[in-house]
């Protein structure tokens, strides 16, 4: 088996979702396998139409800060989260959704982007995934 990167995405903040997807895409692009385990606030980003709806982790200022950063990202020609997610899936990236979070947040599978999700799991799925990983991050 090849080298692997496994990321836990606990945050639902827009900037942190960017970090997770950029790193995961980088890993795939450099020939590694990659998976992202979406849990807690991170799992909210898998709700239909919510991938880029997270606030900014700092200086959100009721959405003004977020708007400003979005404008600057557009100017710098940064790819959208939707595009990064599509590339991630196209390059064989794996997405695991946390079942306990679904229960806590009262989410049903129908509310989530099941077309992106490869596996539903709990801590055991993460450990099993990360056991032979070379890079693992908690974001």
């Amino acid at each position: 088996m090849g080298e692997k990167t496994v990321i836990i995405l606990h945050s639902g903040d827009m900037d942190k979702v960017y970090s997770a997807l950029i790193i995961a895409n980088g890993a795939l692009a450099m020939g590694m396998e990659a998976s992202i385990y979406f849990t807690f606030w991170g799992l909210m980003r898998l709700k239909k139409g919510e991938l880029d709806k997270g606030p900014l982790s700092k200086m959100n200022m009721l959405g003004f800060g977020r708007q400003m950063i979005k404008q600057r990202m557009n100017k710098a020609n940064v790819a959208s989260l939707e595009r990064l997610m599509n590339d991630f899936k196209e390059l064989g990236g794996k997405i695991i959704a946390c079942e306990m979070t679904m229960e806590i947040m009262g989410l049903s599978k129908e509310e989530l982007r099941t077309d992106w999700i490869d596996e539903w799991g709990a801590v055991g799925s993460y450990i099993q995934e990360a056991r032979d990983a070379n890079v693992t991050l908690f974001i």
């Binding site: 950029i22 692009a29 940064v78 790819a79 590339d87 390059l91």
Partner: protein, 100 residues
Amino acid sequence: MNLRKGRRQNCCQYPSVSLTLGVRIMTEMEIDVRGQTCPVPLVECRKALKKASPGDLVIVKGTHPASRKEIPMACEAMGLTVLGIEDKEGGKEWEIKIRR
């Protein structure tokens, strides 16, 4: 002459053509990521390499400075040969040739 025609038609979507004679034509794929930033050049390069067949040539054109050194790094990690890196437009653009 038919070979040339077949080659052109099959470019990009079907990067390589197998002939009944057993001769494989190497194709060239060009990826233009000029103006794109992290991680797009790296990702688009990987997508092209995935679509290409062994022996095909992938040419990546870009402007993002970090990708100029990271694309060769990725190729090395995947055991692919970088045939050349060329700077253009007074160093503002680069072109990397990779043999899949």
